[in-house]
Each structure stands twice: as structure tokens, then as C-alpha cells.
């Protein structure tokens, strides 16, 4: 298989404009003859469904939630970047492009990133027109703030709930099209397979989560907007139901998976409190503007936050300030996370588990007064108190890194099409724009860019090429066959009736991934993890216990289906991490470090996208490489010393 990224020719700033002109158009009167399936209704899915329906296509949208408004895009706190340069501080499309490529540690495709920066300005206009209540200045114009990895203020925000407001905007646009009859919405309906006939995506197989009914849906094109796979780690900041099933099943039907080992670990999460822990809560990284990160110089077992105040200055190690004097506590996410891990590995971690570091606001409160700190972080402090029972105005917070985002995803070309013609991937579900590390406030930007401003153009080219007659109905044997496969898989899970719950397997998988394929990875550990995952998978298929039937609401069955897929994806992540023996962005290989322990890229060997091809059950996947060409940005080693 030859990977064709379809990057248009010409200077970077003209590529998208030229490409839009060269794309084929579907005549307005003919658009109603085409059906498009959208799976997932977060930022990418809702915005795509609404925009395509506005153009005149017939859209069927699917979500496993009871409402599109529940999608996990809603939980994004910080903001959305756009190169508006409203602050007159030197921002530009080119600068946003440059920052994003650099922030991604030079493992993203230049052309895609430039387009992202280019359409970012339209996203803000669109959202404001929809009534999204962004923060404003007293003069009535939009406010901005600065965010990690940038030296300009380009982040638009709606208090700490930007994702919520943007999602509700896209949701309202889709609601309007539901009312117009152009979008048909299927709620509590989960996609369990993609149907590929004659090499093209022709539809999907779904399960109604309330009745258990398996159904086939056909269309001219299928869009997967199904988010990332952080939950392979069991504990992450993702919502409990986030899963990789749609993407993984598409992968098994021929869509290559790009850079699966690129995961982002966020440094400021609330630590695990016990074995019952079900998910991790993120607190905005803005806290590191005023909080100082430290651990005791000598390890103290089970050190509590209330006892921390008794430890004299001379016995504290402000390890980020010590190692990175110029950036201090504001080093990028990956660096901050890794250093927290190191001090805990040394036995200097705090809290009952020893897996936490302090984030201390006492100096900031002394310097600026409690009122100032409360005005800045009041809601975060309240949230912390709510969850932990500790009051961060009086004792230091405890934080620990957690998996937060996956840069990897289905491989797509410049048109967002996967290697299966007619099958697209948008938003976090694709691999395309963030390289090996995503900058803050860029996930919302990408999801909406793909849905509002990229897919409405690129899908037309495919649809115009195939023509509206090129559609296969659900009476085709391939749909029946796929439905039977799905039903068989479900029956298999219910028939095992073993001794361990789905959660127990999921938790075990999460431990393996976190330990060996988390913040820091090495060859020995990864090889060990691969074997452990294979064993765990074999045990799962002989010893999982799923009660109930397939014809009712059955949450355990839903989870079992998803964990079965995580158990396969986990192994591919390990394979990818094993193959990429360089360090870059969120992927840190201990074998590839500078003398003082910082990440070291190997551009000569690894300046490519890893795209993995599924070769059958329990077979090794085949690696394809898309070479990355940097014509505009000069590759340099990141330094925060």
C-alpha cells in the first residue's frame, strides 16, 4: 500500500485556497441525492453534521449518549486558539502554524497545520454568530488570554467552560437541521462496524443500546468523529464512556492507524485516592502560573498536605525551578509530567500513595493576597476541595500527571479521508494536526476546523467523483454478513460467563499501559508489556463475566465490547512505541535522551508518520511510513533550561 497524503502543490499559504478551487463540486440540486453518516456528535461530529446538512446533504448522526450535548468535548476548560491578532501583539496565521508545528515536536504535517491556523479565524466568527458567550472586555469586544507554548494572547475562552459553550453552539446548529429534517439523529446508538464493499465505505452497523437491536445503515460516505482513546489507560481525564471501538473497528476494515503511541499526559490532575478510583480530574494548567511544585528533599512516607507546612524551606526541593531556571514551573506539559514521575520514582512522592507532588500557593497568597488568588482560581480551588476534602488556601494541593489526549488516531490524507475511500476521520479521532504533542487550546480548534470548514469542501470532491448512483443498499449481503459478525461477537462475550468483571480487566490493562507505555518508555518494558497484554487478552476471552442479555440496556456488555477493542489497540500502541526508538513530544524513550535526561529526537531516522495496517486477528501489523517534509519550519531541539 502506498500512502498518498494528497498535499497540494504550491507555497504553504496558497495550498488550501488552490486545493479548494481544484476540488470537484456537487451541484446544489444534486446534494439532496447523497446520504452521509456521521458517527459521534462532539465538536467535530456536530459541526460536520450541521454544516453538511446546511449544504443540502442528507445526514444521519449517531451517538451512544442520550443527547449530543453529553459528548466529552463539553469538558474542555481552557479555550480555543485563533490567529485573530485582536491583541495587536504580533500574532498571525503563520505564527500559529509555526507554534503548532514546533509544539508538536516536528511530527505533524505542515500543510494540515497551516490550514488549521488559516481557518481558525473563521471558527471564532462562526461561534459568535451562533451566540456562544465568549469572555469580553468592558468595551464589548472579545477578550483573549495566553496559553502554554505561545508568546502571544490568542486564546478565546468562556470562563473555564469553553468546550461546553462551543459544543452547545454546534449542538444548536445541528438541532436546527434536525428541525429542518436534514439531520436524522440516533441517540443511545453505538456503531459497531463499518461496512466496506468494493473497497469503499458504504455504511455502518449499529446497536440500539436500549433494545439491543442490531441495525444496518447505508450511505455514500461515513465520517468518524468519535474522539480519542485515552481510556485504554483505564484512568484518564476522558469521560467514562469514551472508547476506541468505532476507530478500531474501522482500522480492522482497512483504515490505517497513525502514530498510536502519541499520547499526552497532563501534569495537573488530582491524584488517585484509592483502588475505587474511576477517573481522573484535570485542573487547568493555568494553576502553574502561581503555584510552586515541590517535594521534600528526602522522602517521607505518606506525607499529608496538612503536615507539609511544617517542612522548612531548606528541606524542600522545587524541582522544576531547580532544573529549568528560565521556564520554572511553566515548562511544557510533557516535561512537567516526566519530572513529577522521576521524583516519585526516587521515593520522594507525597500523599498516601506516594504518587503525588505538591502544588503550593502559600507564596502567591502571601505576595498577592488571598482575594487575588481567589479571583483567579476560585472555582478550581473549590473543585479541589470538593474532591479531596483539603482546602488549598491553607495546605498545598497534591497533583499527579494523567493521560489527557491522544494525538494518534486514524491516518487521514489532506482531505481527512482514511485509507478506506469514503471513510473519513475528524477531530481527535484522526492523527493529523498535533504531531507528537498537542498545545493547550488546540483540540477545540481542530475539532471545529475539521467539521465546519474542511469536510464540507473535501467531501464534495469524493461524492462528485463517485456519483449519487454509486450507493449500496442495506439488503446487500455484506451488510447482513457484518451484522452477523457483530451479533456473534456479542454472543461470544455473553457466553463466557467467567469470574472477572470487565472493569477488573480494564483496570489491569490500564496498569500495564501506564507502567510501560506511559510517561517514560524503554525497550525492555515495552516488550514485557506486549506479552502481558497478549496474556490478558487471552484471559479476557476465557474468563470475563458479562451478565444480562443482548436485548436490553446492558452497560456491562457495552463496556465489554469496548474493552475487547482496547486490549487490541493497547498492543499496537506498544508496538508503535517500541518501533519509534526516539523521544519526541509526549513519547519519551529512555534510550534516546540527552546527557541531562531531556528528550532527544532523531530526525534522520524518524521524521515520518507511522501508519499501521491491520493484518488479521493476532497477526503482527504492518508499518507504513509517510515521510514528513518540512519546507517552512526549521527543525530544532526544544529547550526550556
Amino acid at each position: 500500500m502506498k500512502l498518498d497524503s494528497k498535499i497540494p502543490a504550491g507555497p504553504i499559504a496558497e495550498k488550501w485556497t488552490r486545493h479548494k478551487f481544484n476540488l470537484k463540486l456537487v451541484n446544489p440540486a444534486n446534494k439532496r441525492k447523497y446520504d452521509v453518516i456521521v458517527v459521534g456528535t462532539g465538536l467535530a461530529g456536530s459541526s460536520a453534521a450541521a454544516s453538511l446538512a446546511e449544504l443540502g446533504y442528507n445526514v444521519k448522526a449517531f451517538t451512544y449518549h442520550d443527547s449530543p450535548r453529553r459528548a466529552h468535548s463539553i469538558a474542555a476548560q481552557g479555550g480555543i486558539n485563533a490567529a485573530k491578532n485582536y491583541q495587536n501583539d504580533g500574532d498571525s496565521v503563520y505564527r500559529l502554524f509555526y507554534d503548532t508545528v514546533k509544539g508538536g515536536d516536528y511530527r505533524a504535517r505542515e500543510a494540515n497545520v497551516y490550514r488549521l491556523a488559516e481557518v481558525s479565524v473563521s471558527i471564532i466568527d462562526q461561534c459568535v454568530a451562533q451566540g456562544v458567550p465568549f469572555a469580553r472586555e468592558y468595551g464589548g469586544l472579545l477578550a483573549n488570554r495566553s496559553f502554554g507554548g505561545a508568546q502571544v494572547s490568542r486564546t478565546f475562552y468562556a470562563r473555564g467552560q469553553t468546550g461546553q459553550q462551543l459544543l452547545l453552539g454546534a449542538y444548536s446548529a445541528m438541532n436546527r437541521q434536525i428541525a429542518n429534517g436534514k439531520v436524522k439523529l440516533y441517540t443511545r446508538t453505538e456503531m459497531l462496524d463499518v461496512v466496506v464493499i468494493d473497497g469503499k465505505a458504504r455504511g455502518i452497523i449499529t446497536r440500539d443500546l436500549i433494545t439491543g437491536k442490531i441495525e444496518a445503515h447505508s450511505a455514500h460516505a461515513v465520517l468518524l468523529c468519535t474522539g480519542g482513546y485515552s481510556n485504554v489507560f483505564y484512568l484518564s481525564t476522558s469521560a467514562k464512556n469514551c472508547n476506541a471501538t468505532a476507530a478500531w473497528r474501522a482500522h480492522k476494515k482497512g483504515a490505517l492507524f497513525g502514530n498510536p503511541c502519541f499520547t499526552q499526559i497532563h501534569p495537573t490532575c488530582i491524584p488517585v485516592s484509592g483502588d475505587h478510583q474511576s477517573k481522573l480530574t484535570l485542573m487547568s494548567e493555568s494553576l502553574r502560573n502561581d503555584g510552586r511544585v515541590w517535594v521534600p528533599k528526602k522522602g517521607i512516607k505518606g506525607l499529608k498536605a496538612k503536615d507539609a507546612v511544617n517542612i522548612p524551606e531548606s528541606e524542600r526541593d522545587y524541582f522544576l525551578e531547580r532544573r529549568y531556571p528560565s521556564f520554572g514551573n511553566l515548562v511544557p506539559r510533557d516535561v512537567a509530567s516526566r519530572n513529577a514521575k522521576y521524583v516519585c520514582d526516587e521515593g520522594r512522592g507525597v500523599g498516601s500513595s506516594g504518587l503525588a507532588v505538591f502544588l503550593d500557593f502559600s507564596d502567591a497568597i502571601k505576595r498577592d493576597g488571598r482575594n487575588t488568588i481567589e479571583a483567579k482560581y476560585g472555582n478550581l480551588f473549590d473543585m479541589y476541595k470538593q474532591i479531596t476534602g483539603d482546602n488549598p488556601y491553607e495546605v498545598p494541593m497534591m497533583i499527579f500527571p494523567a493521560v489527557h489526549y491522544t494525538m494518534g488516531g486514524l491516518w487521514v490524507d489532506y482531505n481527512l479521508m482514511t485509507t478506506v475511500p469514503g471513510l473519513y476521520a475528524l477531530g481527535e479521532a484522526n492523527f493529523s494536526d498535533h504531531g507528537a504533542n498537542r498545545l493547550g487550546a488546540s483540540a477545540l480548534m481542530q475539532g471545529l476546523a475539521d467539521g465546519y470548514f474542511v469536510i464540507p469542501y473535501t467531501i464534495g470532491d469524493y461524492l462528485a467523483t463517485i456519483g449519487w448512483n454509486d450507493k449500496v443498499g442495506t439488503d446487500h449481503p455484506a451488510f447482513k454478513e457484518s451484522m452477523e459478525q457483530v451479533q456473534l461477537g456479542i454472543k461470544r462475550l455473553l457466553d463466557i460467563n467467567g469470574n472477572k468483571t470487565v472493569d477488573e480487566f480494564h483496570r489491569q490493562l490500564g496498569h500495564i499501559m501506564w507502567e510501560y507505555c506511559g510517561m517514560s518508555r524503554n525497550e525492555e518494558g515495552l516488550k514485557k508489556a506486549k506479552k502481558m497484554i497478549q496474556d490478558l487478552r487471552a484471559e479476557f476471552w476465557s474468563n470475563v463475566k458479562v451478565l444480562g442479555t443482548s436485548t436490553e440496556l446492558n452497560a456491562e456488555l457495552e463496556k465489554a465490547n469496548r474493552v475487547a477493542d482496547f486490549l487490541e489497540l493497547g498492543e499496537l500502541m506498544v508496538d508503535d512505541a517500541l518501533h519509534r526508538s526516539e523521544s519526541c513530544g509526549g513519547h519519551f524513550r529512555e534510550e534516546s535522551a540527552t546527557e541531562d535526561g531531556e528528550a532527544k529526537r532523531k530526525d534522520d531516522e524518524f521524521a515520518f508518520v507511522s501508519a499501521w495496517e491491520y493484518k488479521g486477528s493476532n497477526q503482527a501489523e504492518e508499518l507504513h511510513k509517510e515521510e514528513l517534509v518540512f519546507e517552512n519550519v526549521k527543525l530544532t531541539q526544544r529547550s526550556y533550561k
Binding site: R70, I74, S122, Y138, Q164, L168, N241, H276, Y452
Partner: protein, 256 residues
């Protein structure tokens, strides 16, 4: 800690439900309420009993998916979502009663899971501003006073969980509907459609079988996001003004 749980179990929408009592002896005060139920479910599965179904997703208080009527309060004793409620808010040995949201417009699907799609249908009736993607003015072309933007934002923070309906003795959805109506009535972008919007959304609210508002303010007291009943006053004003006035074109103001 140990707690006794009285949980509503109901096999399906048309089955008869009832309370079942469970003894839960391994509860940590640091557990969230939902984690306490996770542990209960693991124990039930191990014993071969069907786990308790409940809705949940983000577990950080923003998606609006979790519900539960706990000891007579939607989302339990604190003014947060159930996922943000922790077991340290309960006493050792306490008996905790857990029911689904109870409202005619929110039929029970199974156990503690209810169907809240009535809320979506209200939004589909008019909870949007009619703009297509593309071709909109520059974002800074419409200055909006900060106070107005902040007020609109406060209304827009509703998470659509339905606690307001569950708290209301009339099962009224006025707080939910008023939050969306307020957001768009306040903002200049929402003005062109404000009359149709409020009328359509209220009509849909009534069609779904939600009750009337009798100003008990239980909704505001229980709302995990602190949505104010001021929004209900605004909804009423919007509704009456839409009912008794009309657009210029409706009276031939265009000179026809």
C-alpha cells in the same frame, strides 16, 4: 464506612419497579458517590446479580449525564452533580435512598436511568440562532457589553441534567427552558428570532408533558450550576411580550 442502600430497581420501561436494599460495607469517605455504586456493582456481578444501571459519563460535573434522586434531593445533599458528591458527605451507618428522576416527561428506561430526550426536542423546537456555516460577520463586529455577555454566559452554563424538573413538585421544565431563552434574548445575535423562539420552545415544553411553574424556586435551590430563577422571570416576560406584540411586517409595516 458502612452504608445501607435502598435503590429503585426496575427491569424496563413497562415493568413494575420497587426498592431493593443492599448492605455496603466497604465504603471509603474519599469515594465519589458513583464510585461507591461502581464497587456495589462489582460485588453484585461477582455474586451473579445484575448490576444497578445508572447514567453517568464525564464524572467532572459538566456533561449533565448523571442524575439520581438521593435522600429526597436531586444530586444528593450538596448543590453539585452526583458525580462530584463524595461519601464524606454521608455518615457512617447511614441509610441512603436512591431513586430515578421522577417526572412524566422523563420515563424510566431501567433502574435509575431515565429518558431525557424531551429536553432535546425543546431545543430542536427553537433553541438556536439561524445562521449557516460561513458568511458570518467578523466576531468583533458586534460589540456586546460585558455585563450582558456575562449574564448570557451564566444562563448558558446549564448542563441539561434535569435536576430542576426532578426537584419541582410540578415537574416543570421552566428553569431549563428559561436558561436557553435568556441566553439568546440577551445577546444581539438572538434578537431577530426572539419571539418565535420563545413561543416554539414553550409550546414544545407543554407538549412534552412538563408541569407549570408555581414559583416555589425548588429548581434554583437544587440546580448544580446555580441557574437563577431570574431567568424564569425573563422567560415569562419574553413569552408575554411575544404573545401580545408582533413584528412590523406582520401588520404590513413594510408599506404593502
Amino acid at each position: 464506612m458502612k452504608v445501607t442502600l435502598k435503590i429503585w430497581r426496575q427491569k424496563g420501561p413497562n415493568e413494575k419497579g420497587g426498592f431493593k436494599t443492599y448492605q455496603h460495607d466497604h465504603v471509603s469517605p474519599d469515594m465519589s458517590f458513583l464510585e461507591m455504586l461502581d464497587v456495589l456493582n462489582t460485588n453484585l456481578i461477582k455474586k451473579g446479580e445484575e448490576p444497578v444501571h445508572f447514567d453517568h459519563d464525564c464524572r467532572e460535573g459538566i456533561c449533565g449525564m448523571c442524575s439520581l434522586y438521593i435522600n429526597g434531593h436531586p444530586h444528593g445533599p450538596l448543590q453539585t452533580t452526583t458525580c462530584q458528591l463524595h461519601m464524606r458527605s454521608f455518615k457512617d451507618g447511614e441509610t441512603i435512598t436512591i431513586e430515578p428522576w421522577r417526572a412524566r416527561a422523563f420515563p424510566i428506561i431501567k433502574d435509575l436511568v431515565v429518558d431525557r430526550t424531551a429536553f432535546d426536542r425543546i431545543q430542536q423546537a427553537g433553541g438556536y440562532i439561524s445562521v449557516n456555516t460561513g458568511g458570518v460577520p467578523d466576531a468583533n463586529e458586534i460589540p456586546i457589553p460585558k455585563k450582558v455577555a456575562d449574564e448570557a454566559f451564566d444562563a448558558a452554563t446549564c448542563i441539561g441534567c434535569g435536576a430542576c424538573v426532578a426537584a419541582c413538585k410540578n415537574a416543570s421544565a421552566m428553569l431549563f427552558v428559561s436558561a436557553k431563552v435568556s441566553q439568546f434574548a440577551l445577546l444581539p445575535q438572538g434578537k431577530p428570532e426572539r419571539k418565535e423562539r420563545v413561543q416554539k420552545m414553550v409550546a414544545q415544553m407543554d407538549a412534552e408533558g412538563f408541569g407549570a411553574c408555581t414559583n416555589t424556586k425548588a429548581c434554583e435551590a437544587e440546580c448544580p450550576k446555580g441557574i437563577s430563577v431570574t431567568n424564569i422571570a425573563r422567560l415569562n416576560r419574553e413569552y408575554y411580550s411575544a404573545s401580545i406584540s408582533s413584528y412590523e411586517w406582520q401588520v404590513g409595516g413594510g408599506g404593502e
